[in-house]
Symmetry: D2
Subunit: 237 residues, 4 copies
């Protein structure tokens, strides 16, 4: 969660700025998908002064985006209004012919989701009369009527292709988590069945505790009376 | 989740403002607990211009507060610096003698958690040379050296006692959820075992869908190809 | 500036919440005017989770609102989309017949500008088949087709009528400023011509210094070398 | 104002991220100076999830930072707590021996003000047992006890040295402004005295109008009645 929410958010916006040198303040940034990655990207885009519009297919996530103060719209409806489109859904065909056709001249599109299928490149090419690499990591597509759409990093993960991926201070947590989970596995594998296990909560807590210590952040601890109250309360209601 | 995160946040800050008419901008607001309620309160306090400090006992929640840009400290350490203290932990004795003793003159303390045990009133009274109801919902405690601490709503839920609780536009979702969950129960109870069930995801989605419709928010839907891709991808990795 | 920016922002949103108990998160809040008051209201509305749209007549202010991440639109265009309309322009006829006619059912309108002329009540009445005081400070106007528009505080300053105006912690600065300005006047009036003077910068600084001291905020002071550098630099370029 | 507030804010944070690949979320970022540049940097650092502390010498600016929700402290007091220090004061010696001595291991220091005198490099070198260029634009200073301080871009303007300066979408406004101001000068120079003139408000408005048009943002215009009201009101009070 931490690397998706905090890492992807920063590194995606960083990648877009590095590649295009565009001022984010004032721009309409369309974020497709409001999972952890999408939330992180939406939050950072807003933090840089953008007007953020979220598209979603899942009603609970859509409602959460709405309540978090983002405009929630259908991709088709927001296509003519977006300055920058960022796909983070994990699905394919998030941006297709009908969206490209409606975008305005100069729109920037990129992907920070799983693979380069979120933006349908075949569609984009079909709509275009020509395309060329403009500068590193920017391909300029010229559509009929001389409208330009700028594709970053060929639709691959923009934060890996055009920036340096997650900052090391997030990834250390992910790696620590994986290391401790492996250790736990090695110790407990005989008791485990053949199914998917969640990382035990104790490991998440241990990693968080180590990270906080490294940050010199000290937190409170429960007294025995507080522990007892919590336990009784959990039982009592 | 929605009523805790969005409802409690607004109604707690609303209650404090109504009761005290204090300007939140610039104040150090200490939020004890970073669950959904605590997050909501921290977010709204920041949104009103406060410097928010979070206290926690759970390392993962503490780390999240830290990454969300809040100062995370021990209650003992932040006690001399807070202007307004809000407890939302669900546990007892969050504010006790040692905290009151360190607070500055004029500190405001209130509770938006579960019961009036979060703030240890016995301790507060013991430290005080006198106390009196100042105006409605404000009790002024005078400690040795003429230091004043202002307790709101006698330590009971400040957003219920001093404001109007959750706005109706949040609670309708909670009630709809409970109603639909009851209907589901009535239909399925024969199949259920004697244990705690989560509300089925379909019900959450149904409520969210109805709410979005009432808000005139339209969202995207998956195409068959997208659904297939998602399914295969879920299986494939 | 301080009371307009920080005071009006909080007290206006406070007044709306008190009067209507509406959840701000997710709402489209339209702020007419982006002076100090408008900025304060826009900032706080966003801080409470709203999607804020700003209307302006002055291009520099409009551009600033745009760069601050707010949608900037014509009032006519945003009329069908707003949930809550707040006028803070200092001019008349900000909301008129053509706007009311386009508003959606349940829209809330209020004024936090100078007088009750910002919302054209004559127009609202002409469009309505009936109106009645719903609860304190809410008048329900019923338009043709049974559309309801809710007017707060009869269009007078909502933060004075329905809340308690500026929090005392802002107003003390304004009053201190006025007091010191009066003292300055008393001392210097013989030297003054018959024209409008700005409050001398020294008075603003003195008030700010006293306020910071009362807040226990300590700030840096320039060394002689720094002062000299600043002075030479001011001259040199 | 626009390029300082919006341009410097983004480009400074961009430069720090590019150079160090550090995650901003959770970091204590110390911004020295709360003029337009400082505000922009503070706002963007917060938008990226930092805890921002502001230092100032001017009380009114300090109070504004405080009311904007930033911690305001003396540089000496915040020196042991900052992760990243950014000077934007326009003065010299903002960071000196006494500050470096208190900083924690791994602190990052950089300048986004006017010249490379804000960070006293002579002091930093005197405190250090060695220093070396670590990677491009990062010099690692090793102080006694093996404490490291990382200086970006040798103390020169980090947003020019390590990023690409202001995004073009801000600078176009500055240049347009300068061009129109030059045209105005050429036309009016005979009437001008030998003193500093402000750019006429009409030019700012013209640039803003052109910029809004290029952004497809339409704004309201005053009716004759509104203009008259404003004028009479300006006179009347």
């Amino acid at each position: 969660m931490f690397d998706n929410l905090y890492g992807t958010g920063q590194s995606t916006m960083d990648a877009i700025i590095r590649t295009t040198n565009v001022l984010i303040a004032g721009k309409v940034v369309v974020v497709a998908g409001y999972g952890y990655c999408g939330k992180g990207v939406a939050l950072r885009a807003r933090g840089l002064g953008a007007k953020v519009v979220v598209t979603e297919v899942e009603p609970v996530a859509a409602l959460q985006a709405h309540m978090d103060g983002f405009l929630v719209m259908k991709m088709e409806d927001v296509s003519p209004r977006g300055d920058i489109f960022i796909t983070v859904t994990g699905d394919r065909d998030v941006l297709t012919k009908k969206h490209f056709a409606k975008m305005k001249d100069g729109a920037i599109v990129c992907n920070s989701g799983h693979f380069n299928v979120e933006i349908n490149l075949k569609d984009l090419k079909q709509l275009s009369v020509s395309y060329k690499q403009k500068i590193k990591n920017i391909t300029e597509y010229t559509l009929r009527g001389n409208k330009k759409i700028y594709l970053l990093a060929e639709g691959r993960l923009v934060n890996l292709a055009a920036a340096e991926g997650h900052p090391s201070s997030v990834m250390d947590m992910s790696f620590a988590n994986q290391a401790l989970a492996s250790a736990w596995l090695a110790k407990n594998y005989k008791k485990l069945e053949a199914k998917v296990y969640e990382v035990p909560a104790e490991i998440d807590q241990k990693v968080a505790k180590l990270k906080l210590a490294s940050l010199h952040v000290t937190i409170d601890t429960l007294t025995p009376v507080q522990k007892k109250y919590l336990a009784s309360w959990s039982e009592g209601t």
